[in-house]
């Protein structure tokens, strides 16, 4: 449903059904187009699996946009530190370091935006790209930041964890493709951005965090080690020799402590590899999946018995490591190709 800035004689409803994730970007594009057509002041996209009623969530999300306090509003959740490992270990710290904003949830189906932002996005050629099929929400957030739209956050209850239709490998592949798309599209912005500006946040912090979902990180670690050994010749082409040596030492079961700097250097090496073009980005995304699995399982294994406060402190430290090592990525990215 599209809320217009002036009443219409008849209620117009635009329905854009889509079946599963791949059609999400088409639906969003249709909604944006409908918003532009009806000169909508604000657009809200809600996730049906979210908590609370649709009316409540729409009201909360639309308020700051309608008052023109902000042009893009993303939900923020009080997560358990062990929850959403892909977000906390990769997406959040990377977006924070590159784009210079403390955006908690760079991935998320729900958001609200101004009509101006929607019209701006319609002019972009992202809609036909592969990355748009799977993680358009990430691109929307980074686009809002890079194009200097006012971005804010709003506290929301964490969505209920329902099973996804995609496997972990496919999800990592899709998220990595989307990150690459954003990084390439916004290089002129993030090469100069620094620090991590806090975003204005609406709503009240739930304080009470839900329990984290449990999963078998030991099995994931075994899979990851096996896969990394298999793709060693490919990893050698992407990672620096010392990073490669440390990864292979760690995966041989040496039992070394959780190394944030190693992880960050791996992420930045892959990011730089997309620019150098030695390996196709689809292959890079496939190669990254075992490395993420290795990191995620190592994180869980090392922090399983730690209190949430200590784990949260580790996550904050990881974000700082990403920021501290950003010049390494900037230097690699700036190499003439």
């Amino acid at each position: 449903m599209v809320q217009t800035s002036h009443p219409l004689r008849t209620l117009h409803r635009v329905v854009a059904p889509y079946h599963g994730l791949p059609g999400k970007h088409t639906a969003l594009r249709t909604v944006f187009a409908a918003g532009e057509l009806t000169q909508a002041k604000a657009l809200v996209v809600i996730d049906p699996s979210g908590r609370g009623t649709a009316a409540e969530r729409v009201t909360e999300l639309i308020g700051p946009i309608a008052r023109s306090d902000v042009e893009f509003l993303a939900p923020r959740y009080r997560r358990h530190p062990h929850d959403g490992v892909l977000i906390t270990q990769l997406v959040r710290p990377l977006v924070r370091a590159l784009y210079g904003v403390a955006l908690d949830e760079p991935l998320g189906a729900e958001f609200a935006c101004s009509g101006r932002f929607a019209s701006h996005c319609l002019d972009k050629d992202i809609w036909n790209r592969e990355a748009a099929r799977f993680a358009i929400d990430l691109w929307l957030r980074t686009e809002a930041v890079a194009e200097r739209f006012t971005v804010g956050q709003i506290w929301h209850p964490a969505p209920t964890a329902t099973g996804t239709r995609t496997t972990l490998r496919e999800t990592v592949h899709q998220v990595v493709l989307s990150l690459i798309e954003s990084v390439r599209a916004h290089e002129s912005f993030w090469l100069k951005a620094n620090g991590a500006t806090e975003l204005r946040t609406w709503g009240s912090d739930p304080i009470v965090m839900p329990e984290a979902a449990t999963w078998d990180y030991q099995a994931l670690a075994d899979q990851a080690r096996h896969d990394i050994v298999e793709i060693k010749p490919l990893l050698e082409e992407v990672l620096e020799p010392d990073v490669f040596a440390r990864v292979t030492d760690d995966t041989s079961g040496a039992g070394s402590p959780l190394d944030d700097e190693l992880w960050v250097r791996i992420v930045y090496a892959f990011a730089a590899a997309t620019r150098l073009g030695h390996t196709g980005i689809e292959h890079l995304a496939d190669m990254f999946a075992p490395l993420y699995m290795w990191r995620a399982s190592a994180f869980m294994a090392h922090t399983a018995l730690e209190s949430p406060d200590i784990v949260q402190a580790r996550l904050d430290s990881l974000c700082e490591t990403f920021q501290r090592l950003k010049p390494v990525l900037v230097a690699s990215w700036s190499v003439e190709v």
Binding site: A161, T164, T167, R169, E237, G277, H278, T279
Partner: protein, 233 residues
């Protein structure tokens, strides 16, 4: 009789002198062509290296994996290799030309043969290069797909595929060169057929039960490997 012997000796000397008078200029010309060819080849090699550097050929060879393969084979870089090939082709052309200048009967027509051979050689090089590039690409794609699918022996499978594609490229290149075509093709066909037949017998008959167990294990392992992404988002 003595006069006849003397006449024969004089005639022989005259023939030798005439032949030398005819041969020496040719020898000098051949030497000049030989030396000039060396200089031209050096210049051609330098020009090719500069051209490849200007075209950033090193990045292309890095991207296609050629650099890595050459490094593993302890060979010079792709640009150096290409420059050397050009050097030798140009110089051999001049050497052939020099030899042809001598008008030696056993090697007459060599120039024509050489210049008929050069295009075939270039095409063979192209076929070999394409075979290598395709083999490398398939190796990488197969390795990643096999690892993600949890297939056992992913490196063996992808490595074998790469070797097979490169071998096909080598055979096609040899066929293009016209070097023992029948032998090479027959040997390749026999080897390939034997390999496929052996695999079919091994899996179809000898390893029937093992194949069944492997498939069941893979199916089970795939279910275990297909970790739900929900806790990670």
């Amino acid at each position: 009789m003595i006069q006849d012997i003397a006449d024969a000796l004089v005639q022989s000397w005259r023939n030798a002198a005439t032949a030398s008078v005819l041969f020496v200029p040719r020898l000098v010309a051949a030497t000049i062509i030989f030396a000039a060819g060396f200089v031209v080849s050096l210049l051609a090699r330098r020009a090719i290296r500069r051209l490849l550097a200007w075209l950033r050929f090193d990045r292309l060879s890095l991207r296609t994996g050629a650099s890595e393969m050459l490094r593993m084979a302890d060979m010079p870089t792709a640009e150096v290799l290409i420059a050397k090939v050009v050097f030798w082709m140009v110089w051999i052309g001049f050497i052939v030309s020099a030899v042809d200048t001598l008008h030696l009967r056993p090697v007459q027509g060599l120039v024509n043969e050489f210049f008929r051979f050069v295009p075939r050689f270039l095409v063979a090089l192209l076929v070999l290069t394409l075979g290598f590039l395709v083999g490398n690409f398939l190796w990488r794609a197969t390795l990643l797909a096999s690892v993600n699918a949890g297939l056992p022996g992913a490196r063996l499978l992808s490595g074998a595929l790469r070797i097979l594609v490169i071998a096909i490229g080598v055979v096609m290149a040899l066929e293009q060169l016209g070097l023992a075509t029948a032998v090479v093709l027959t040997a390749f066909a026999i080897m390939f057929g034997a390999l496929m037949l052996g695999l079919a017998i091994a899996f179809g008959l000898g390893g029937r039960d093992a194949a069944k167990q492997l498939l069941e294990q893979q199916f089970r392992a795939k279910k275990e490997r297909d970790t739900d992404a929900a806790p990670h988002l």
